[in-house]
C-alpha cells in the first residue's frame, strides 16, 4: 500500500507569491494534518481536517488556508509568501480523528527568496 504522498518535493518561490501544496493520505484514512517544520526546529501544527471539515487550527496567520476534498486528499495554500515561510511542510494522515497514530509524508521543502 502506498504511504502518504506529497507534491511537489521541492519548491522555490519569491516573496509575495502564492503556493499550493498537496497531500494524498493513505487509502482509508479520513483525517489529514499539516505541520510546518522550520530548519533546526520541531514541527508546528497548522491545520487538521477530518471528513472535509476543519477540526483544528494552529497559531498561523490567515495567509495560511487549507481544504480537504471528497477523496480525502488535501491542499495547503499560503498567500503573500514571506521569507519566514521557508520550511519543510509535513502532511500526516490517520484513520480517523483522534486516532493514536499519524503517518507522515516525506514533506515539501519550500524556499522563499
Amino acid at each position: 500500500d502506498a504511504g502518504v504522498t506529497q507534491s511537489p518535493t521541492h519548491l522555490i518561490k519569491t516573496r509575495g507569491q502564492h503556493v499550493t501544496l498537496r497531500c494524498s493520505p493513505i487509502s482509508g484514512h479520513k483525517s489529514v494534518s499539516w505541520y510546518q517544520q522550520v530548519l533546526g526546529q520541531g514541527p508546528q501544527f497548522i491545520f487538521q481536517y477530518y471528513e472535509k471539515e476543519e477540526r483544528g487550527r494552529g497559531n498561523f496567520p490567515d495567509r495560511f488556508s487549507a481544504r480537504q476534498f471528497p477523496n480525502y486528499s488535501s491542499e495547503l495554500n499560503v498567500n503573500a509568501l514571506l521569507l519566514g515561510d521557508s520550511a519543510l511542510y509535513l502532511c500526516a494522515s490517520s484513520f480517523r480523528e483522534g486516532y493514536n497514530e499519524q503517518f507522515f509524508g516525506p514533506g515539501t521543502r519550500l524556499t522563499v527568496l
Binding site: Y35, G42, G56, N100, F104
Partner: protein, 114 residues
C-alpha cells in the same frame, strides 16, 4: 504554556551501546498521549513508540523503551543495542485527549559511532 522540552540538542553513542534521550512536557490535562518520532535525513517522520498517560506500564517496542514518570512529567526514550540505522533526529511529542494536534519538542540529534 503547553510545551514539550528536549534539553539535549545532540547525543552520541557507540554502536551496540545504550543511550537515553530526555523529554519533559507541560500539560494541565489528565488524558493525553506521548510519542517519540524519528526523522532520518530522508525527512520522513517515523513513529518509534507511544505511551498513553493512563497506562502505568512503560511502553516497549523491541530495542526501544520509555521511562514515563507522570508526576514529574518526564518521558525519556532508551535505545538499547544502538545500530547505525538509528542515527537521526528524534522528536518527543504530546497530544491531548480532546485536542488532537501534536505539540513537538525541538529534537535531539542522535549520532551513532561505529
Amino acid at each position: 504554556a503547553q510545551t514539550v522540552t528536549q534539553s539535549q540538542p545532540e547525543m552520541s553513542v557507540q554502536e551496540a551501546e545504550t543511550v537515553t534521550l530526555s523529554c519533559t512536557y507541560d500539560t494541565s490535562e489528565s488524558d493525553y498521549y506521548l510519542f517519540w518520532y524519528k526523522q532520518p535525513p530522508s525527512r520522513q517522520m517515523i513513529l518509534v513508540i507511544r505511551q498513553e498517560a493512563y497506562k502505568q506500564q512503560n511502553a516497549t517496542e523491541n530495542r526501544f523503551s520509555v521511562n514515563f514518570q507522570k508526576a514529574a512529567k518526564s518521558f525519556s526514550l532508551k535505545i538499547s543495542d544502538s545500530q547505525l540505522g538509528d542515527a537521526a533526529m528524534y522528536f518527543c511529542a504530546r497530544r491531548g485527549g480532546s485536542n488532537y494536534q501534536l505539540i513537538w519538542g525541538a529534537g535531539t540529534k542522535l549520532i551513532i559511532k561505529p
